[in-house]
Amino acid sequence: MTKRLTLPILLLCLAMLAAACSDSDSDPTTTAGGDTATTQAEGDTATTAGGGDETTTTQAETSEPVSVRAAITGDEDTLNPYTYVSGFPGWNLLMMQYDSLMQLDAAGEPQPWLAESVSANDDLTEYTVSLVDGVKWHDGTDLTIADAEFTFNYFIESATGRFSRDLRGVDSVTVNEAGELVFALAAPNPAFDLVALADIPILPMHVWESIENPGEATFDISTNVGSGPFKMTAYEQDQFYRFEAHSDYFRGAPSVDELVVVIFADDAGALAAIRSGEVDVGFDRISPEQIELLDAQDPLDIAQGPEFTTQMINIDVSKRPFDDLAVRQAVQLAIDGQDIVDTVYLGSATVGSPGWVHPGKTVYNPAVVPMHDVAAANALLDDAGYADSDGDGIREFDGNPMAFEYITNSSDSLRLRIAELTAEMLAAIGIQATVVSVETATWEEAVWPGFDIANGRNYEMATWGWSAPIQANTIRIAELVNSDPGIGFLNLTGFANDEADAISAALQVEADPAVAAEMISELQVLIAEQVPFIMLAYPDGAYVYNSEVYADWEFIAGQGIVSKVSLLPPSARP
């Protein structure tokens, strides 16, 4: 009896140990060699990466209905314009069902979509849009100019949500005698096509006109009538969404017939399901150390390209000693962005430009380059009188040690590594940054209390990052540095500089694109000099997909693969 019982238990323990070892062993073996993914990392123009060469295999099999199962982490509610939760991938999934007047192409530039043509007057205060014919809603009725007019006025009147904010500064939206939509703006807005026309979903009037207060209404998925290539047919909270192809789609029937989006609780679960073949594509970015591991596994492939998310260090520049420019400049010099890209991102990122703007953007100022010089940083601090008088390796300011709490959000392991690495870099110039990893909501509340910069700041140093839209629309650089909360509502570090205020305020209303570009250029120089925050890197986007199921993913520069464009036949893409 003794042996009969102990043996199975011992065997179980042994088996588990063996499996654990073999599982972790597989990492180092696959990371050697292979440069498939990383070569495309530094692309400074729009790139299409991944398995474009495999498109023929899926196209050949089109007689069978194509069903794609995608993984996301976190529920996005019923995915209508008032319920979707996150900017990514929530908005992207919303737009599978709806169309906007313009659509981003592979280079990330807006192109006419529901719009036949888009034109603006000389001072960019009036935009005129004509509509394509023959567009049908999911319920079979026709999409007309009246729907478009209704949509914009509905968002302007309801005054809550992203799309209403897109339309701030729009005085009126009307239909002229030629049957075109006319947007009258209060001030010139050169980015109106990008921020509004390519962002706002056109809604069916016959569904939405009876919903008076969308901010307070509760919705089920019967509201989700759009004109987009997919219509939602089922939703189970925290479980999945099911979309069916809209066969009457005006650009042609989608190349995927069914899209099931599975909602995972965490990314480890999503990755396991992709590796086991239960899911065909991950709609969340994968971390750099997973890229080669997954790429090595057949039939998985990686789509990779530049994205406009940012990684940075925020410092409270309103407090001692960071109010001293010498300290901020020394911190900036001490940070080695290339080391972060190599060590943390394993090469799958672009080194952060100290002037905020991604080097892939046309308005990037090439005179602004990352600098790393520990000796110069130490000299700056020495000259400014921050000496280490007690010899403990930490300099002092006003009689206090230069020791700060450096907070980061625990849910992001890459950020934690960045924090650890940069803390070491700062130690080399006599600044002690103690990394404290806290839960995301706590971290957000410290850096951006109540999401309103009027509430001040409760941190000394923090890792931070902005989502792609802030970088994609370069005019938004103004929001990061202006000291007036009305303009600089993303100014989380308490930065105040008269010159930056003047340029950024003027930039927001500049009609001439050439002049605006010049202002953005100047702001980059100013930001690099004044260091309101420390730019580290722009991580690449990398997505894993099963090329046997569907391989035709389109990588939109700065946006990634999660878009209706990816699921349309190449001839139907913008």
């Binding site: 009896m1 003794t2 019982l5 102990t6 238990i9 011992l10 323990c13 588990m16 499996a19 654990a20 599982d23 976190g74 529920d75 509610d77 319920t83 979707y84 939760v85 996150s86 900017g87 990514f88 005054a159 809550t160 949500g161 992203r162 904010r165 901010g215 307070e216 509760t218 089922a234 909270q237 925290d238 479980q239 999945f240 099931v260 599975v262 909602i263 609780a265 965490d266 480890a268 679960g269 396991a272 399901a273 086991s276 239960e278 839960e439 995301t440 909501a441 706590t442 957000e444 509340e445 410290a446 951006w448 209390p449 109540g450 999401f451 309103d452 009027a454 989502s467 509502f489 993303l490």
Partner: protein, 323 residues
């Protein structure tokens, strides 16, 4: 007897009142703000006026005391309210989640208690012998396994490498299965979470049973039973097991109550749509009403289980009966 019962009820009411009040204050003591959840990711782009309007809509602008009063009113009228996240009725959400949670927690609890009690009883009977020591060592090793690690390990073996079992969810998404096929699908999805939870719960039942048995084995009445010539079998089942079962029942009652809280970690690892996942999502988004409701269900379950164990004691053990 009646007076004692009343005193008992009063005590439970007091504990209930304290626990329910804590449920209100604990979420609000956490740093962080539910605004991000209510408004979505673009919360930072809202004007202060828009934010204030939103806070007013969900009643977060009221003084804490007024919110507390409203909260108690809703608890006493069984009105769990609506989620900040989805605007859905929380009672409905909990109703959807509870069966999934109970499937895996009660399923594993049943297996674990049978296995644990048998092994624990056996181990105690053989105390000090090789079987006992090796069982005890194995159990303590099992108990020290981190649950997320065990879950991911089983996924890695049975789903990723062998491809035998699904790695996530309670059913195949959008499968359209009905009837027997659906039952089979649900069971397949439940296997890995149940195995994980079972492995993690066996040591508790085992250790409780073993300890309770050992205590009884040392008592005088067992020696008496033996000396009057009772068979080993009769001693084990008639005297030892009967007397050792009371603490095990308490243990199981409490474990059963915890089953209503779901298993946050296991449900997260397996993306299982149970109560634990709901708690996880609501805590990370500061969805106060959902957190409160989930904790309330949990509080009530623990109190009811305690009450049940209190009532079972006199039945299981005549010495506990009061005249």
């Amino acid at each position: 007897m009646l007076r004692r019962g009343l005193r008992n009820v009063n005590r439970y009411l007091l504990v209930f009142a304290i626990a329910v009040s804590l449920n209100f204050f604990l979420p609000r003591l956490m740093p962080g703000n539910p605004l991000a959840l209510i408004a979505g990711v673009d919360v930072g782009l809202m004007t202060p006026a828009e934010r204030a309007e939103l806070m007013e809509q969900v009643g977060l602008n009221e003084p804490l005391l007024a919110q507390f009063f409203d909260y108690w009113k809703s608890v006493l009228t069984f009105d769990l309210g609506y989620s900040y996240r989805s605007g859905r009725s929380i009672a409905e959400m909990i109703g959807e989640r509870l069966p999934w949670t109970l499937l895996i927690t009660v399923g594993s609890l049943m297996i674990a208690s049978v296995v644990g009690i048998i092994l624990g009883g056996f181990s105690a009977w053989r105390r000090g012998k090789k079987t006992d020591l090796s069982l005890l060592t194995s159990m303590i090793s099992l108990q020290s396994l981190p649950s997320f690690w065990l879950g991911m390990l089983l996924i890695s073996i049975f789903a990723v490498q062998l491809g035998w079992l699904p790695s996530f969810g309670a059913e195949t998404p959008a499968s359209g299965y009905v009837g027997w096929e659906r039952v089979r699908d649900i069971l397949e999805h439940a296997i890995l979470p149940i195995i994980t939870l079972t492995i993690l719960s066996i040591p508790g039942a085992y250790l409780t049973m073993r300890y309770a048995m050992l205590e009884v084995l040392g008592s005088d009445f067992i020696r008496t039973a033996r000396s009057k010539g009772a068979s080993e079998r009769r001693v084990l089942f008639g005297h030892v097991a009967r007397n050792a079962i009371a603490p095990v029942v308490t243990f199981l009652a409490i474990r059963f109550a915890f089953a209503f809280g779901g298993s946050v970690i296991i449900e997260t690892v397996f993306s299982y749509p149970g109560l634990g996942r709901l708690i996880f999502e609501s805590v990370s988004g500061r969805d106060y009403p959902v957190m409160q409701a989930a904790f309330l269900v949990f509080t009530v379950a623990v109190l009811v289980a305690n009450l049940f164990a209190d009532m079972m004691y006199p039945i299981l053990d005549p010495r506990m009966r009061v005249r």
